[in-house]
Amino acid sequence: MKVLDGRKKQVFRKGEAPFEFDCEKQSLAGSVSQRACVFCGSRVVLYPIADAVHLVHGPAGCAAYTWDIRGALSSGPELHRLSFSTDLREYEVIHGGEPKLYQALIQLIERYRPEAVFVYGTCIVGVIGDDLEAVCKKVSALKGIPVIPVHSEGFKGTKKDGYKAACAALMQLIGRGPTDGISKYSVNILGDYNLAGEIWIIKDYYRRMGVEVVAGITGDGRVKEIERAHGAALNLVQCSGSMNYLAKLMKEKYGIHSLQVSYFGIEDMAEALYGVARFFKDAEMMKRTQELVSGEIRAVYPKLLEYRKALAGKKAAVYVGGAFKAFSLVKALRLLGMETVVVGSQTGSKQDYALLKELCDDGTIIVDDSNPVELSHFIREKNVSLFIGGVKERPIAYKLGIGFCDHNHERKIALAGFVGMLNFAAEVYQSVMSPVWQFTPRYMQSETRGDVHDECSRTVCP
């Protein structure tokens, strides 16, 4: 396989000098990038806010493809699971879509009584020149709730620019609410989207440490909580790709410090808690944290070791949206005795890739904004037993008879937290050790080559 000329600097094999890596650029036309668009970036970030109406101002497709797609759970209202669009037709393309948008907003607010409305701009709106800002302002004044335009026209950059547009929209909410009564030991959780209830696991850890969570941004998100987020003492940023920008804006405006954390894997999860305890410089809290961490690890470690016994020495490929998740996955796989030989992301920064390079072993392929042709080639070349990615990567693995673990929006199993690590290990084990691979050409070919398979000597795991 030949990597396209325009992408040569976005692929790196560790050990090959020098490290000149290109990233954070517009995808190459015709390369079949796994990325989506600006709109997608905004939509996924704001999606979990469950008591807001999310109105897509544009054609039906953009709304239909994002209807109920994230496994982002809510402990209460579920407005976010409905798909609203102005479904623009030719008439509006010619005459403008503002009247339709105005009517749609009024109708939605009267019917659903949301705490706020997010109005997403799409490509078409960017071209026909509807003034989202003006319509939102008018409706907001009339109805007395925040109606916030999200400038997510698809062509205006990459998915990462969509994250920024979402962060800018969130900044319009933050600062509106009262901050009295918020503990000095308080945090906001940024960049956890409560997939499969993950934020509930994390919130429980912080509660046990004696830390108040002011707002989940945006996992199990509520408008009123986000409006108070400026009262928190610390921002915890997971999913750096989407939320670093918000942390930066909040630092500038409210002086709130932030910590980069990850809740995936034992090491990173523990560090996410210790980091907070260290920040608050409270000896009691640190003691509680140590007890929590050691208790949690004790509960999962023996089982993890059993999985490790079966998985040790196997190779894995990781291709995910944000690079920060990739770090955690490399470490988590290492804990299971597995080596990551291909790793990449859609939106990593130069700094992220430099860190990845440090983290990985020699020979590992590091790739930015990859595509099916490349990924299929890399995973075969490296003969991996497992591929971790999202829906679009899954068939690439399966067609080649390779195990797969979904680490994207749609998963239904919590992978965050200590218990999440156990779930992750179980899922990896169940996929890699499944007897179905024995029928696949990949397995049969390696059989003829005389490779050793431990799939057949399965140990019974809980």
Binding site: S31, V32, F39, A60, F84, D87, Q103
Partner: protein, 453 residues
């Protein structure tokens, strides 16, 4: 039959349709060696890939010309050419199907002109066939994109000449299993044929030993070229607009004998297809199908009491809805709600033709609706069963009505592409599933919960 007008509101809630380029992409995926390319933002291609992958569970590569802000202002020509170049270099395709999007249509890119320039610059050797179709999603929906793409392929690739024995069939947007069945039927009739599109293998293929950057299978370009020389062309789908009907086009342009039939769901509509094929092949309906038909009627008789008067809500593409309604009526069920997100404008009329015996007021026909409209109809009609794609599941759950999954997308179950809807065999499977769902509903509600029927 009542034509139901969606209630006036300016917002679509849970759309019962997708956008045009999705339909076009699916068509292009049904051509051998073809790669779809969407002329627009990266997101259009990626969202559609994701949506198709979640149904088909197969790799679905769709390229994008990946508009930036400057291409939006100055035109997407340079991006499109670069995209073509990169698709050729990565995939070596036989054909690239270029579908436009809202964005490229609104800024007014002249794709044909850009392609002419590209052809001149690239030269002929190694250049794939380029087909282009206009698919802005502010006009129509995914089913229009589908039919428009079939029509575009035929208009831009097919040529005429002395007639051959080949029969061309346009199956419409049906499952991979349906396409396989149709092929089996055509082979059993001894017919040489072109089926366009044919994604029976490309979108529902076998496990691979090496990665296929373009999935094997699909309608061969050489046969598409010869479509104008077919002795007959069959369009399945009665709700297709005349200008989208590729069989009609072949008839008018090349004097091919054209037929328009319904999706062969149920005995009556399948009989019509079988009889037409028997005439074209000049032979009797093969015994295998006569037996399938006989077994199906036998099953109709065995289970008729479970179905009589039961009300169904059917939703999806107009022709799927029409086919289902025709089938439901022939087993004594009432297609009480016939809903589609598309606006063919023909569904009510075609239903009237197929179900003349249907009593006034028994069937609500709703075109251009979303799932909120369908919900309100369900509230009113209280059907016993829902028949449609996965996106009706929230309603099935809310109202406790069994959902028989048919059509596209099937996102919450395995095996969407393997669902059979057509022919006697497909009808048999549908019939068994519907009967059993109704029996199960009764069994679940029964205080006794008998283990026999």
């Amino acid at each position: 039959m009542n034509a139901h007008e969606p209630y006036a509101r300016e917002v679509t809630i849970n759309a019962c349709k997708l956008c045009n380029p999705l339909g076009a992409s699916l068509v292009f995926r049904g051509i051998e060696g073809a790669v779809p390319l969407l002329h627009g933002s990266q997101g259009c291609a990626t969202y559609i890939r994701r949506y198709l992958i979640s149904h088909f569970k197969e790799p679905v590569d769709i390229a994008s010309s990946n508009f930036s802000e400057s291409s939006t202002i100055f035109g997407g020509g340079a991006n499109l050419k670069q995209a073509l170049q990169n698709v050729i270099s990565q995939y070596r395709p036989a054909l690239i199907g270029i579908a436009t999007t809202c964005l490229s249509e609104t800024i007014g890119d002249d794709v044909r002109l850009i392609l002419d320039e590209f052809k001149r610059e690239y030269g002929a050797p190694g250049r794939p066939v380029l087909v282009t179709v206009s698919t802005p999603s502010y006009q129509g929906s995914h089913i229009d994109g589908f039919h428009d793409a079939v029509q575009a392929v035929i208009q831009q690739v097919a040529s005429g000449g002395p007639k051959k024995s080949m029969v061309t069939i346009f199956p419409g947007m049906v499952s991979a299993a349906d396409l396989r069945l149709l092929k089996e039927i055509l082979i059993d009739f001894g017919l040489d044929f072109l089926m366009l599109p044919d994604y029976s293998e490309t979108m529902d293929g076998v496990i691979w030993d090496t990665y296929q950057i373009i999935a094997p299978g699909g309608a061969p370009v050489s046969k598409i070229r010869a479509a104008g020389r077919s002795k007959a062309a069959l369009q399945l789908g009665r709700c297709i607009r005349r200008q989208q009907n590729a069989a009609e086009y072949l008839a008018e342009r090349f004097g091919v004998e054209g037929y328009t039939l319904g999706l062969p769901v149920g005995i009556k509509e399948t009989d019509r297809l079988m009889q037409t094929l028997a005439i074209l092949a000049g032979r009797d309906i093969p015994r295998k199908y006569q037996e399938e038909r006989g077994r199906l009627i036998d099953a109709y008789v065995d289970a008729h009491k479970y179905l009589y008067g039961k009300k169904a809500a059917v939703y999806g593409e107009p022709d799927l809805v029409l086919g289902m309604a025709s089938f439901l009526a022939e087993v004594g069920m009432v297609p009480a709600i016939c809903a589609t997100g598309s606006k063919s404008g023909k569904l009510a009329e075609e239903l009237r033709k197929l179900l003349p015996e249907s009593e006034e007021g028994m069937t609500e026909v709703a075109e251009g609706v979303d799932f909120e409209d369908i919900r309100m109809l369900i509230e009113r009609v209280r059907p016993d069963v829902l028949i449609g794609n996965s996106k009706g599941y929230p309603l099935a759950r809310r109202y406790g009505i069994p959902l028989i999954r048919v059509g596209f997308p099937i996102h919450d179950r395995i095996g969407g592409p393997r669902l059979l809807h057509m022919g006697y065999r497909g009808t048999q499977q549908l019939f068994d599933r519907i009967v059993n769902a109704l029996i199960r509903a009764r069994q679940d509600q029964s205080p006794i919960g008998w283990s026999y029927i």
